[in-house]
């Protein structure tokens, strides 16, 4: 735990340099480091847990950003990104290699609980076992699914070619339908000699929990397991929860994910770099502009280009408008979960429509904007955009923020149901790798816009609102405060926006990214959205991984819900503000 960690002696920046960190590791564990480069520190498999513990406790790398893996055809590589909440700066990269047959790596869950779902995802997608993981089962696909989809030798049923653009698409009119190309004439494939008639699906597991302390009342309560979702009005999509209840009290919650797993990463590895841009829209479909931005800055870092001033300002304006509308809608949905059905949401959606109008006028689409490009934005804003946006930012948005706060935050019923509900303490919030408003509500002053400034966020004056207790009320208030800060940034940006170009260089639909890898991240309304892109120098990414904030924030759901009533669980889920498109990808 960070709270028990010894006082951090070195709080200076050099600790973000892999060489320095590797030297420090070598002094403690001389045999642990295999290789060091700017791309990261390669560790020995059996020393990984020791080194992680050392980094966490002594060097204060207390935040695990991302866990993913790369299939290098001859071996697998598991990649970890770590940062220090206090020091900020770019994350350091740890890597562990494992053989291709029977791959296994020690689990980091004992040190970083945020690794829980991420390691399960790696196991599901690549088939790498994590020794010591408490619950290593498939997470996105179902138990019994054949194959590990993100391995390079896995071919999906509609497999056509290794990389896009496919040869069959060049000659217009000579097309074979994907259904016809597949011998099963559907998007399926089965192993040879499958006896479908006799197939028995594996039994679904049930969370086992230890007996709890004696009930406080004399009422006898039974332990029941409640299935919740995937179709339920307050699961924010197709989330499914397996809840163990004792009477009405929640004893364990286990999210079952994957009901909207749309194979973002597999499709992304077949796509060209720019071809992934519209797919990022559909990750967190509330905040497509911000997703575009995060992906664009990641690839721009690899390309080593910088967009022109005007484009940077347009990007910030779009990202902050997105943040406002996302938070407004999130508060409305939270009230929905509280039982105030739809009315508060309608108020929040009113302003959202005006923001979407601006997006539509600029990008051509209300929700799926597909607006950012590598080195700029797709097209300039319309002539009246600045005026319309100024009217929104100066008149409507502040008024609506005040109104929402006045009616929602000071409501007595709301206070009774939100104060001291779903508390996530500071050290656990960091340990669970939560991000965004959930992390900040627990009193952690961490915002990627300040910790590792991207775009031109270092030019604007804004605060990072934080909570104190980390309960539901704090998460609510942090969102309200962030809406105000977004308006503040928007006001500055709209005053300063210069005329000029919107694109560096000429428009290029097929960029060639130099060999290398990059973990780029941005502060999305839901939290830190990261893209881990590995390039082999070709026109398509070799590995394309998305660090989805909603997905990782869900790891902490069990911690927040246990001990509360089932009605509170719904609201706690609402206060995390998840979007299933991003959770399942």
């Amino acid at each position: 735990m960070a709270a028990n960690a010894p006082a951090v002696t070195e709080t200076q920046m050099p600790l973000n340099d892999p060489q320095v960190v590797a030297e420090k590791i070598k002094t403690q564990y001389p045999d642990a480091v295999e290789a060091v480069s700017a791309q990261g520190i390669v560790l020995k498999k059996d020393r990984l847990l020791d080194v992680a513990r050392y980094l966490h406790d002594t060097l204060a790398f207390d935040y695990l950003n991302n866990v993913t893996s790369v299939d290098w055809q001859d071996h697998f590589e598991v990649v970890y990104h770590l940062t220090s909440i206090d020091r900020g700066g770019a994350p350091i990269t740890l890597k562990v290699n494992t053989a291709r047959d029977n791959p296994s790596v020690p689990s980091l869950v004992p040190v970083y609980r945020g690794a829980d779902f991420q390691e399960r995802e790696v196991y599901d997608m690549m088939g790498i076992r994590f020794e010591g993981h408490p619950n290593l089962r498939r997470i996105l696909m179902w138990e019994g699914f054949e194959g590990y989809p993100l391995r390079k030798d896995y071919k999906e049923p509609y497999y056509e070619e290794e990389k896009k653009p496919f040869g069959s698409r060049w000659d217009q009119g000579y097309h074979v339908f994907a259904e016809d190309r597949n011998p099963w004439h559907d998007n399926v494939q089965y192993p040879a000699h499958l006896d479908a008639l006799a197939y028995k699906p594996p039994r679904e597991s049930v969370p086992v929990i230890e007996a709890t302390q004696a009930a406080t009342t004399r009422l006898r309560t039974d332990k029941i397991i409640l299935n919740f979702g995937p179709q339920h009005p307050s699961t924010h999509g197709v989330l499914r929860l397996k809840v163990t209840l004792e009477g009405e009290t929640v004893r364990a919650v286990e999210p079952v994910l994957g009901y909207l797993h749309r194979n973002h990463e597999k499709i992304g590895e077949r796509n060209t770099y720019l071809g992934n841009m519209p797919f990022t829209d559909r990750l967190d479909y509330f905040t497509s502009m911000a997703n575009n931005l995060a992906y664009a800055i990641t690839v721009e870092k690899m390309l080593g280009i910088k967009p022109p001033e005007r484009a940077e300002y347009i990007r910030v304006i779009m990202a902050e408008l997105t943040r406002w509308q996302n938070h407004a809608a999130a508060l409305g949905f939270l009230y929905n979960d509280l039982g105030a059905f739809y009315t508060p949401l309608i108020y929040a959606l009113e302003e959202r429509e005006l923001i979407l109008d601006l997006f539509e006028a600029t990008a051509g689409s209300r929700m799926m904007c597909n607006y950012m490009r590598f080195g700029g934005v797709a097209r300039d804003v319309t002539d009246d955009f600045i005026d319309k946006c100024k009217y929104l930012v100066n008149e409507r948005l502040p008024r609506r923020t005040d109104e929402l706060e006045a009616y929602m935050a000071k409501n007595e019923l709301f206070l009774a149901r939100s104060k001291n509900i779903g508390i996530l303490p500071r050290d656990l919030a960091i340990n669970y790798s939560t991000a965004g408003p959930v992390l900040r509500a627990s009193g952690v002053k961490y915002d990627v816009r300040r910790a590792e400034p991207y775009s031109i966020y270092d030019r604007f004056e804004f605060d990072i609102p934080t909570g104190t207790v980390g309960d539901l009320y704090d998460r609510f208030m942090v969102r309200i405060a962030e809406m105000r800060q977004s308006i503040k940034i928007l006001k500055q940006a709209l005053e300063q926006i210069p005329p000029g170009d919107i694109m560096t260089g000429k428009k290029n639909y097929q960029v060639r990214v130099p060999k290398g890898e990059m973990y780029g991240r941005a502060e999305n309304p839901k939290g830190e959205l990261g893209f881990y892109v590995v390039s082999d120098g070709s026109a398509n990414p070799y590995r394309y991984h998305v660090r989805a904030p909603s997905f990782i924030n869900l790891t902490a759901l069990n911690q927040m819900c246990v001990g509360h009533k089932i009605a509170d669980m719904i609201v706690i889920l609402g206060s995390i503000d998840i979007v299933m498109g991003e959770v399942d990808r």
Binding site: E156, Y190, P191, P230, Y259, R262, F286, G581
Partner: protein, 239 residues
């Protein structure tokens, strides 16, 4: 005088039966049965199309546009459809708003089976209509019509609220043309639900289990079913 006398007996009611026949003729509409059923259809369909209760069933991005449609600006209540029911048993319309994944497929079919008839399905957006941008994915069903019958397809990714409303108006037109003579829910016997697909090594359609087993045992026959892409050379005629 003689003319008046000849008319008088017919206009006079002499017996009780005649009086009854006259009353029936005056106040009861009579005609062929088919006309009557047409009238019944008119009333049924008018009521049905103006009080469609959709199921609050959002799968993905399109669900957000569905919510926007039901909010103030687009106001789905103008069509009597604002009552989004949380349970399929109270719903008439399933708006499949988003990508149907294989993992979700059994749930979608079960929800459809749980809906009481008359029931309608609208495939909203590219994903629900045919897989959309995610069609090539290994976990995506190529359109919800692979699982359940669909009444209206709405293109778009996501369709704008206007497009959704237009699609719903098309559904209303479709309902207007329905007749109780031939709609499936007034037929004799119990209507069988759609069998739920099974999550095996891959999604298995319960109606195709025998076919799958037979084909899996016969790789040559299976391979022959695949249509290869043939890039025509210059001068070759397109089929």
């Amino acid at each position: 005088m003689s003319q008046e006398q000849s008319q008088t007996p017919s206009s006079l009611i002499t017996s009780e039966e005649e009086w009854l026949a006259d009353q029936v003729r005056r106040s009861v509409w009579t005609g062929p049965l088919s006309k009557f059923i047409d009238l019944l259809d008119l009333i049924y369909n008018w009521g049905r199309r103006n009080s469609i209760w959709p199921m609050g069933f959002g799968l993905a991005c399109c669900a957000i546009e569905m919510i926007c449609t039901s909010a103030t600006r687009f106001d789905i209540a103008r069509f009597g459809m604002e009552l989004f029911r949380a349970t399929p048993r109270q719903a008439d319309l399933m708006i499949v708003a988003g990508t149907v994944t294989k993992k979700m497929a059994p749930a979608v079919v079960r929800l459809y089976n749980q809906m009481a008839e008359p029931k309608y399905v609208v495939a909203m957006g590219a994903c629900a209509s045919g897989g959309g941008p995610f069609k090539e994915g290994y976990n995506v069903v190529s359109g919800v019509d692979k699982l359940i019958p669909v009444d209206v397809y709405i293109p778009g990714c996501p369709p704008t609220p206007q497009a959704l409303l237009y699609g719903l108006m098309q559904l209303q037109k479709k309902i207007d043309r329905q007749s109780i003579r031939d709609v499936p829910w007034y037929r004799k016997g119990i209507s069988e639900g759609v069998p739920e697909p099974i999550l095996g090594p891959d999604l298995m359609d319960a109606r195709r289990l025998e076919e799958i087993t037979a084909l899996a045992a016969n790789p040559e026959q299976l391979a022959a079913r695949a249509v290869q892409f043939h890039k025509p050379t210059k001068g070759e005629k397109k089929e």
